[in-house]
Subunit: 275 residues, 2 copies
């Protein structure tokens, strides 16, 4: 039995509808910290295993959750558990900052950056570029039905970055006018497929067709060491309008061949030559 | 000065937000018929010229309106005008039926047809295939922000055709599972670009990537004899959400090279070899 404080965090993760893989992984680490505050010894060992299963079950094919549960040791010592979970959170934050540094170098003066949905990692890149004094425009999508794009609009407003919001269906029309595409990732599989908000694949195709470089920003803990694209379950959420059920798979799948590079905190990964 | 009944029709055309090139052209023909009922002689000649300008101005680069105004003669004789406008409407209806016949032959048993937005010409094809007793499924898009897809859902419901509705951003995810793509067209330019609801180009790219044949259904009066893709103005309509202005260009541009064929009443046009 997990303590109520830990279960509350799991429930929050399960109920989350907007934020993605980075947020979930950090929240999972907080669950381990909460666990370290109420147990020790053999009881703790059992609870760590149970919590690992619960965290992975939030999304059974999400790399960040899988990697978190592998990063955290099964230990009888609460202070070891706590230290390791805190280290995970620190590494997450550092990874994001470093991706901001690396990615912002791709943004030149007067760049027109197109993105899809809301990635906190892409936002970090834009923030860093802005901090470096660069002037650029961003094209962002409404991102129906949850409108994550409007949340990104609020952030860009605060940063003083100019942007246009478009409907998702206009991605093709605007990709050709952009000079750089930056998207986040929920999951990168072992065989090099990027799972990200549905529409990302369409943007990658339009960028490929228009000769616009397309980059994915993803902390290395989003790379899944085991799973291939075929094995990933794509979450579907209920959505309806005027009495009609509307299919609502959250993610689509972008193959390596349309990706110029994956920006990680370790550097920019480029696709293998044989693609 | 055009008579009030004619002006009322023009205003209706200008205000129309959902229906496309076929509807507008037929409505324009009705305006000529209304004109034929209230004028003759020199007065009629002037009014026909004025009405032609007003009709073209509803959308200055739309082939169907341009072709209508070229089809209708500048005449002093109201009965000639009326006969010719009625003939245009009859040809429109015949063209749609013939496209239904030709296009329905592309639909095999258990086909999965993907489409985007609402094309009355595509609907005619689906209707005809259904009348021929074929069983197939259709994937249709919500088509934000005006939700034309939900209007199509209502039509398919009435026909007893099974369908899934998806968000526009899932076009890439579902294109690969389809076996045939059928879309309408608002305009086909002299140099072979198809203007249709924004998102059509994305669907064409995903079909190309997934090896799914992509067809456009368009009456021949949607082929513009003069304009090239560069010269076409894409209409933008106001759209806002949570206080943010959202860009809302109605159409995007699909090049010939992603199109297997354009289904017209004269037969299926295939792209020239040198593309």
């Amino acid at each position: 039995m997990l303590p109520p404080a830990v279960v509350a965090i799991i429930r929050e993760m399960e109920a989350e509808r907007i934020r993605g893989a980075s947020w979930l992984a950090k929240k999972g680490a907080e669950a381990y910290i909460a666990l370290s505050e109420s147990m020790s010894g053999r009881e703790l060992i059992g609870a760590i295993k149970e919590l690992g299963e619960r965290i992975r079950a939030v999304n059974s094919t999400m790399a960040s959750l899988y990697n978190l549960t592998r990063y955290v040791p099964v230990t009888a010592d609460p202070s070891t558990l706590r230290a390791r979970a805190e280290e995970f959170i620190k590494l997450c934050d550092e990874a994001k900052r470093e991706i901001g540094n690396i990615g912002s170098e791709l943004i030149d003066e007067n760049e027109v950056v197109i993105t899809h949905s809301f990635s906190s990692t892409v936002l970090e890149i834009l923030k860093t570029a802005r901090d470096k004094g660069k002037e650029f425009r961003v094209v962002i999508t409404e991102s129906s039905p949850d409108c994550e794009g409007l949340a990104l609009a609020g952030e860009l407003d605060r940063l003083g970055v100019h942007f246009d919001i478009i409907t998702d269906a206009q991605l093709g029309l605007f990709a050709g006018k952009a000079t750089l595409a930056l998207v986040g990732a929920d999951n990168v599989t072992r065989d090099g497929y990027v799972f990200n908000k549905a529409g990302t694949y369409l943007l990658s195709l339009a960028c490929h067709d228009g000769g616009v470089p397309f980059y994915v920003a993803a902390e290395s803990f989003k790379l899944h060491p085991e799973l291939t694209a075929e094995e990933v379950d794509i979450v579907e959420r209920p959505y309806a309008k005027r009495g009609y059920k509307i299919r609502n798979f959250l993610f689509d799948v972008t193959p390596w061949r349309y990706i110029r590079g994956v920006i990680t905190e370790l550097g920019i990964l480029v696709p293998p030559k044989d693609l």
